[in-house]
Amino acid sequence: MKYRSVFDIIGPVMIGPSSSHTAGAARIGRVARSLFGREPKWANISLYGSFAETYKGHGTDVAIIGGLLDFDTDDTRIIDALKIADEHGMKIRFIEEDAVPEHPNTARIMIGDHNGELELVGISIGGGKIEITELNGFKLKLSGNHPAILVVHNDRFGAIAGVANTLAKYEINIGHMEVARKEVGKMALMTIEVDQNIDQHLIEELEKLPNILKVTKIVE
C-alpha cells in the first residue's frame, strides 16, 4: 500500500496551489538537498509530463528551488525561493523535456558545487507524497517518509551483512531495504529505511566497514 498514514490524506499543511506540483515538488527538492548535504551552487532541473506542461502556473519551479534551500512544504519563504536562491548565488536552469515519463509528474534534478555533484529523479504521486526513483544512475524506491541511509559500496559478498550487523548492534530496525547495482562486481547502492533517527557516529562507523565507499542519511 502506497499510502500508510492518515496524514498522507489529511495533509500536508502547505503553501498552495498544488499538493503534487507544489508540495510534492518541494519535497523532491528537499530530499535532493538532504542527500547532497549542503546548499548546491548550481541546479539543472528537467521537468517531464504534467510537470513540464504546467510548472509555471503551479509554482513547481519555485517549490523545487524552495526544497533545495531546505524549506518545508508550509514554509512561506517558498514563494520567494527564486529570489532567495539568486541572492545566495545559486545558478538555476529549468529544462522542459518532451520525453513521455513513466509517471506524469517527474523531475530530474542535477545539483552540484566545487566539491561534488548529485543527480536524482523524483516523482510526485499525489497528495504531496513523493518517491525517489533514481539516484546517481541507480534505480531505487525511496518514499522520503522515514529516516533512511544510502550506502554506496563495492558489489562484494559481506558488504550488506556488515551494514546490517552494525545497525543491529545499535538496535536500529530496518523497515525497508533494497540493493541496486549498475554492473556485477562494480559499484552498488543499498537503500535502507529505518524506524529510528541515526546518529552521525553510526554513519562514521558504517563508512569504516570493508567495501563501503560512502554513507549518507536522510532524516524525516
Partner: protein, 294 residues
C-alpha cells in the same frame, strides 16, 4: 489494516466503534505514535483549515487574477436571506470556495486529499458545525473519518488529477466529506459508505482541465459543487437511501475510468476547458505568450 471500504465498515460494526476511531487505532499501529500525538497533529491541521476559511471569506485574489472574491459574494448573498437552495449548503459552498481561493493565492492550506481539492472537506465541516454544534473533538473526528475513506481511495485508485482526473481529486474529497458528515450527524458506518458511494458516482468521469494549468479555473468552482454534492448525498444516505453499487466497486470504476482518460484531460492544461477559446486566451494573457505559439 483495512484495505477497502467493506473491511473498514466491518471493523467499525464488529467493534461497535466509529470509523474515525478505527482510523485513529490504525494510525497508532502503523506509525507507533501515541494517540495524543496523532490527535494533536490533526487538531493543528484543523486550525490551518479554520484560518484558511477565515482568510478566504474576507477576500483574497490570486496572482493571475483569475480567482478570488467569490466566497465574499456568496457570504453577502446568504446574509440577505433570499437564497433558493439552503443555508447550510451555501455556507459549505462559500467556505469551500474560500479555502480554494486562498490556495490559488499561494496561501497556507491543508491538503484534503490534495491542495486542488482542499476546499470540500473543511467547507462542509464548518458549515455543518453551525447546524450540529459539535465539540472540538468531534470536529477532529470528522477529519479522521474523511481520512479513512480517502486512505482507501488513495491505495485502491488515485487521488491526483494528473493520474486520474478531477474525479480522483474533488470526487474523492466530496466522497470523503459526505461520509464524515454522516458520521457527525449520527449515521451508521454503512450509511457513511453509502454517502461516499452516492457522491463519487456523481463525480465519475470528471476531467482535470485547468485553464493555463493553474489550480484556479475550474478548480475553485468544482470544489463548490463537490461540497454541495457531499451535503446532498449525506442527506440522502441519512434518509436511508442505499447505493445499489457498493462503495468499493464505485472506487474501482473511478480507477478504470481514470486509467482510460487521455493525457490532455489529466492536468496538462491542454484539453477540456483549458482548450476553449477563452481558456487559451486567458493562458496567453497570463504568460504573455501569443496564441499561435501555445
Amino acid at each position: 489494516m483495512f484495505r477497502n471500504v467493506a473491511e473498514l465498515v466491518e471493523l467499525a460494526v464488529s467493534k461497535n466503534k466509529k470509523i474515525s476511531e478505527i482510523m485513529i487505532e490504525q494510525e497508532i499501529t502503523v506509525t507507533g505514535r501515541s494517540r495524543q500525538e496523532i490527535i494533536a497533529q490533526m487538531d493543528r491541521n484543523l486550525t490551518v483549515m479554520e484560518e484558511a476559511v477565515e482568510r478566504g471569506i474576507k477576500g483574497v485574489t490570486s496572482h493571475s487574477g483569475l480567482t478570488g472574491g467569490d466566497a465574499v459574494l456568496l457570504q453577502k448573498y446568504i446574509e440577505k436571506g433570499n437564497f433558493l437552495s439552503g443555508e447550510t449548503i451555501l455556507d459549505a459552498v462559500s467556505k469551500a470556495v474560500a479555502t480554494n481561493e486562498v490556495n490559488a493565492a499561494m496561501g497556507t492550506i491543508c491538503a484534503t486529499p490534495t491542495a486542488g481539492s482542499a476546499g470540500v472537506v473543511p467547507g462542509t465541516l464548518f458549515a455543518v458545525k453551525r447546524k450540529l454544534n459539535p465539540t472540538r473533538e468531534q470536529m477532529v473526528s470528522f477529519l479522521f473519518t474523511s481520512g479513512a475513506f480517502g486512505f482507501v481511495v488513495a491505495n485502491n485508485a488515485f487521488i491526483s488529477g494528473a493520474a486520474g482526473g478531477c474525479q480522483a481529486e474533488v470526487g474523492s474529497a466530496a466522497g470523503m466529506a459526505a461520509a464524515a458528515i454522516v458520521e457527525m450527524a449520527g449515521g451508521s458506518p454503512e450509511q457513511c459508505a453509502d454517502a461516499m458511494a452516492i457522491t463519487l458516482k456523481n463525480m465519475l468521469g470528471l476531467v482535470c482541465d485547468p485553464v493555463a494549468g493553474l489550480v484556479e479555473v475550474p478548480c475553485v468552482k468544482r470544489n463548490a459543487m463537490g461540497a454541495a454534492n457531499a451535503m446532498v448525498a449525506a442527506d440522502m444516505a441519512l434518509a436511508g437511501i442505499k447505493s445499489r453499487i457498493p462503495c468499493d466497486e464505485v472506487i474501482d470504476a473511478m480507477y478504470k475510468i481514470g486509467q482510460s482518460m487521455p493525457t490532455a484531460l489529466r492536468e496538462t492544461g491542454q484539453g477540456g476547458l483549458a482548450a476553449t477559446p477563452t481558456g487559451r486566451l486567458l493562458a496567453a494573457k497570463i504568460f504573455g505568450i501569443p496564441l499561435n505559439e501555445q
